[in-house]
């Protein structure tokens, strides 16, 4: 019998990486400088690649003819289990950078744990992805520092991005029901994560906000209004022309 928790957790990992990949992809052709246009597109390619691995694994668990694409293209907003953080708008370069940093710093720690998971497939995907995530973390950390400690304008934009995004960082550490027996210790991740983020923000002459209200819901399918628009665009062709090969 299918393990529902494992299945939902796999979808959560898949949805989170897909939605952030989709968001980052919108920069392709519109980046602030050609080299960074290429870099953010690379990150998008990595994330969507990771989502495919997770969706493919979910499909083998379900074993009812579901495919990576049926999961990505035919489920509704309420069925998506991504964290709220990754569906937040691209905003300006500061907001995109900070979103990436807040996520990559978490994903890096999560995948370090996950690579030793008792579930061999999840462990293998995490291990394979860690090299990519390490790069995403390095790249986004460098940009956080550069923008925080750059000009007054870039610093102000980073401050605004922190205000916008920080309330979406708490959710990552609160386990959904399906995460509880996955062999992941989110509390220990939280501690290390906060230290890493504090170090980088401090180097960027910025501060970690304190006593901020945290939004939750994404992991259980209660999203911000953003996700509906993302999925409308993402799923448009499959929903307009059902049942086709592409």
């Amino acid at each position: 019998m299918m393990n529902n928790n494992l299945f939902n957790y796999t979808l959560h990992l898949a949805d989170t990486t897909l939605i952030l990949g989709q968001r980052n992809a919108a920069w392709c052709g519109h980046g602030p400088v050609l080299e960074q246009d290429i870099a953010i597109t690379n990150i998008s390619l990595d994330l969507i690649g990771q989502s495919r691995s997770f969706y493919q694994y979910a499909a083998t668990q379900k074993a009812d003819g579901s495919t990576e694409d049926s999961f990505a293209y035919l489920r509704s907003e309420r069925e998506f289990k991504n964290c709220l953080l990754v569906e937040q708008p691209n905003g300006d370069w500061a907001q995109t950078i900070l979103r990436q940093f807040l996520f990559s710093s978490f994903q890096h720690l999560l995948f370090q744990q996950l690579q030793n998971n008792k579930d061999a497939t999840l462990a293998a995907i995490a291990e394979k992805s860690l090299k990519e995530v390490t790069y995403h973390l390095r790249w986004s950390s460098e940009w956080v520092i550069r923008l925080g400690d750059g000009t007054e304008e870039s610093r102000n934009k980073m401050l605004k991005a922190i205000t916008e995004l920080w309330p979406f960082t708490g959710e990552q550490f609160i386990p959904a029901t399906y995460e509880e027996n996955m062999g992941i210790n989110l509390l220990s991740i939280k501690e290390v994560w906060l230290k890493k983020v504090t170090d980088i923000l401090t180097e960027a002459t910025l501060q970690v906000p304190e006593n901020i209200f945290m939004h939750t819901g994404g992991k259980n399918g209660i999203h911000t209004e953003q996700l509906g628009f993302i999925l409308t665009e993402l799923q448009y062709i499959q929903k307009t022309y059902p049942g086709c090969e592409w």
Partner: protein, 313 residues
Amino acid sequence: MTEQTSENVFLQKIEAEIKIEPKDWMPDAYRKTNIRQISQHAHSEIVGMLPEGNWISRAPSLKRKLILLAKVQDEAGHGLYLYSACETLGITREETINDLHSGKAKYASIFNYPTLSWADIGAIGWLVDGAAIMNQVMLTRTSYGPYARAMVKICKEESFHQRQGFESLLVLSKGTEAQKQMCQDAINRWWWPSLMMFGPKDSESTNSDQSMKWKIKRKSNDELRQSFVDMIAEQIKLLSMKLPDDKLKWNKEKNQYDWGEINWDEFWNVIKGNGPCNKERIAARSKAWEEGEWVRIAAKTYAEKKINKQVAV
């Protein structure tokens, strides 16, 4: 060395098929022609990201999304090599890009046409990249070294894109009625603009003669265009689709296809800025550049601060 001797050395190199390198003496007009052509080529890569980029968010499967994203990213990489090749001729990337935004520099007019359906992505890969390759294969032998070397790398990726485009249309051509229609419609809309990519007829081409003598160009617009028609007219048979040209017919004696006439009014109009998307394309590029200015300044300021700190230590 006198200018006369320098010019002789230059011409002897051209004659002997020795590449001209950045530090070599070259006639001003040779330098200018290369700057014009390479920067135009770089801009085409960058502006070309926009019509295809339109469909990244809407690609019909995750696999197609990754293929398209990687393809558009490749175009950015091509732009980067070409801007670098251009810099070897003494013009900065900023100057070159400003010329694009001000309208002084041109880019391939084909990108002023809209991408209206998913099939357009396949059609661009197959026809537009296909036409570009005809030109670029020739340019791997162009006389300016950095340009020729950039082209070798670019050609490899472009031929991969062309195969991917064709394969994506092949899937549509075997699909439902709606997919077949989408495929034919895209071919109808992209065919003539693709033929226009080779530029004006030889009899009307102002830059061609000197470029041929200097071996910047090695085949004429009409020669390249004909090879393209001959290639595509065969490939389309595998798609069971039609090219939108009643006059297209194999000519046994000439051993090539006869075909109809390009709408030259449309060609000149799009060049003059009256294509369906000329304004949007430049606006999108200018917006990205202007909105990225604070980022570039911040990066530069931070880098300077870091150097100063190191010096202080």
